[in-house]
Symmetry: C2
Subunit: 125 residues, 2 copies
């Protein structure tokens, strides 16, 4: 059993906005540290530390190639997040109030909502 020595948990790893941006950046391309750090307003070393935290959480995989270390997304640990979320879905599943958010944000899970005919309405009390 591998047991990836997860010193940092996923929840903490994604708490930082820089790290979330890193995950997006490394989602489809593999990149070396120097190139990565060009996308951020901080030192290479700082970015490197963020990458280490992501790696500890298993969210990113590093591969040494010559003198550079390339990083890429490893999305598997996000499953834990999804599972955690799924617990709460039963609490909003029937809530009209969520609709508001759907509308405000226009898109959810890649699906865009379109105008409906207000078939469901608040009773007029």
């Amino acid at each position: 059993m591998p047991a990836p020595s997860q010193k940092h948990d996923v929840f903490q790893a994604i708490a930082d906005p820089t790290r979330r941006q890193l995950l997006r950046l490394l989602a489809d391309k593999e990149m070396p540290v120097t190139i990565i750090s060009r996308h951020f307003p901080m030192s290479r070393t700082a970015v490197s530390k963020h990458l280490r935290i992501l790696a500890n959480a298993g969210l990113v995989k590093e591969q040494k190639v010559g003198r550079e270390t390339r990083y890429r997304l490893q999305p598997e640990p996000l499953i834990e997040l999804k599972q955690w979320l799924s617990f709460f879905e039963r609490f909003w599943a029937n809530k009209l109030s969520m609709l508001k958010h759907y509308v405000e944000n226009e898109e959810i899970d890649g699906l865009k909502l379109v105008e409906s005919k207000h078939e469901e309405q608040e009773p007029k009390e």
Copy 2:
């Protein structure tokens, strides 16, 4: 427009394990601070501060009733998390490796996996 003064964002709010436990606890029942704090190995004041952070993130609603303040889950901001996650789903959607996690964790999104007949198989290379 209400604009809930979100000083703390959702990602940071759920980063702490105590706060995640709080959300679960307050998911179905509304509870006053003192009762809530009995579930945690720390002072009432500490729990109170966690509740404030959750409230600032909009994840919990407080209602004053007499001398007590009752808290309850407000799941709406979790939408943001779900949306964030949805971005990454396209990166694991086709990955066999996720299957491993499904099996290991037995359950995903409230659906339990059952034995299949291995209709899909890895080609034998």
